[in-house]
Amino acid sequence: MRIGVGLWTMRATAAHPAAQPAMYRDLLADARLVESLGFHSLWLAEHHFWYDGWCPSPLVAASAALAVTSTLHVGTGIHLLPLCDPRRVGEQLSWLQRASGGRLQHGVGLGYRAAEYDGYGISRLVRGRRMDAALDWLSGLGDAVPPVWVGGFSPAALERAGRLGLGVLLPSTLTLPQLERAIAQARDAAAAAGRTVRIGVMKYAWATDGSESARAWALGMLSTFMREYAGAWFPLRGRPGFESPELLEAQVRRAADTALVGSPDELVLQLRALADAGAEQCVLHLVGDGRLPERHETLALIADRVVPALDPVPS
């Protein structure tokens, strides 16, 4: 299984204020560190028009990370493809893929925030159709563009990835049975089209020393992250999370219950279970806003004691 790490969101939050240019400078140092630790990939995220400066243009940030590394892959987890003009994105992807020696991984998704679609003058109702059209266009460019990973787990997303023979990038909060069902759906769609589908998974994760206190700290950090993220944005039965406190707490619990948090040995077992379910690639989403120093410690622990214990993906 290939292990990537993420997500570099470049957020300066109320809980962890930071200087944005310093965060972009740190991205370069982090990319070098992640490469030196032997990870397959580093993943960036995208959102728009938010108080915390969430990176709205991950391909631009990816270009900087690719420029300071030589073997590390850099991915988007995810790029809101329906917001874009497919021809221009195709140009950008082709340029960056060629310029980086083929080290870009293109995770795409629909997104969900109406404000982002409205900013670009696009009806949220047509995002699926725009995604289909963009993927068709990019598929026509062949190897000139990077491998695509379709984010999400809706039947439409799984069918889309399978039909076009792309990859799926399943979201963090799925349980193992849900992942197995989604993988089967994607593979069925691919088989029906005479293609194969690559399987990727994102997972909230943190490596600890195995103690209960360390686990509680990591889960507390995840909950803090998820409460603000889901509270402000997630439409929980049609309303923002903060207006539906019970649903929000359920979402926070779901994130904690499905996270990979524990000692390196425990993470190895959990990742092997994902590999047995069919995952070829896992992006470990190490939450923690801003410039959390502990993030480097968990990266080193995973690199030293988790990745070497996993079976590599044959090249």
Binding site: P21, W50, W95, A99, D118
Partner: protein, 284 residues
């Protein structure tokens, strides 16, 4: 006068390394600007952020042809600007002679790159659109992250750009195909229109420079040309386009020559007698 060079996007798989090598060569000899306009026009801001990662003080100028959604350009620009810790400027280039497209794109990007929530209602774009099916939409948007600089430098280039720039109090770039006399006429018009306000505008020019395959160039002719343009229309930023076929080594040699033999000669109006002869002898 400040001097810069165009970084050529090397075709093939080594473009990031080649751009970094060219940029480092420019930075190491103290040139002021690197101009990025790769063959794939949509990739200029990608190239800028990659070059920013390899440099620390070199200022970057990304030339982007208008036509894309202004938010796409603005958001890519603010991320590249943050990657460069505030060293980026943006050149918006007109497409064909579509003055309205350049004007509306410029207006929307000026608004989007300011640290104020904004809305833009133009002939082509309505930002935010406030479409009824987009629930919970905003009346105004803020593009984040903010620029590091108090204001993103925006210059305009291409056909019709001088008039559009003048109306907005922006600089326009005298293009490589434009004569010094044309530039002088355009800037005289800007001075008439803006009065003292024209003094705060930089006067950039893009100029092609001949060099042989080893990177040797006729620096005396280049100095003469730049001094003439200085006298005629007060050009204060010259971005030099070296032949695209030069390899990175020859390009670096040409940049060093510009830095050591041209730059010292175009800072002041005149140099004391004997100094240039001394340089010619001592630096030969």
């Amino acid at each position: 006068m400040r001097l810069g060079v165009v970084l050529e996007g090397a075709p093939g798989v080594a473009a990031l390394q080649s751009l970094a090598a060219q940029a480092c060569a420019a930075e190491s000899v103290g040139l002021d600007f690197a101009w990025l306009a790769p063959e794939a026009g949509a990739a200029a801001l990608l190239a800028a952020s990659s070059v920013a990662a390899s440099t620390t003080v070199l200022r970057l100028v990304a030339r982007v042809a208008v036509g894309a959604h202004p938010l796409e350009i603005a958001e890519a620009a603010v991320v590249a600007e943050n990657c460069s810790a505030g060293r980026l400027g943006l050149v918006l280039e007109s497409v064909g002679r579509d003055r309205d497209l350049l004007a509306e794109t410029t207006d929307a990007i000026l608004a989007a790159t300011s640290p104020r929530p904004f809305r833009h209602h133009g002939a082509r774009w309505r930002i935010p659109a406030n479409l009824p099916e987009n629930e919970d939409h905003e009346a105004r948007l803020a593009v984040t992250p903010y620029c590091v600089q108090p204001e993103l430098p925006i210059w305009l280039a291409g056909p019709e750009s001088d008039g559009v720039a003048r109306e907005r109090g922006l600089s326009h770039v005298s293009g490589a195909g434009e004569s010094a006399e044309d530039a002088a006429r355009a800037w005289a018009a800007t001075e008439r229109a803006l009065g003292p306000g024209a003094r705060r505008l930089r006067r950039p020019a893009l100029r092609a420079v001949h060099a042989d395959a080893d990177g040797d160039l006729d620096d005396a002719a280049l100095v003469a040309m730049l001094r003439a343009e200085q006298r005629l229309w007060d050009v204060d930023i010259a971005v030099l386009r070296l032949p695209a076929a030069l390899d990175d080594r020859a390009r670096a040699r040409a940049m060093r020559r510009v830095a050591s033999r041209v730059r010292p000669r175009v800072v002041l109006d005149a140099l004391p007698p004997g100094l240039e002869a001394y340089w010619d002898e001592a630096l030969a």
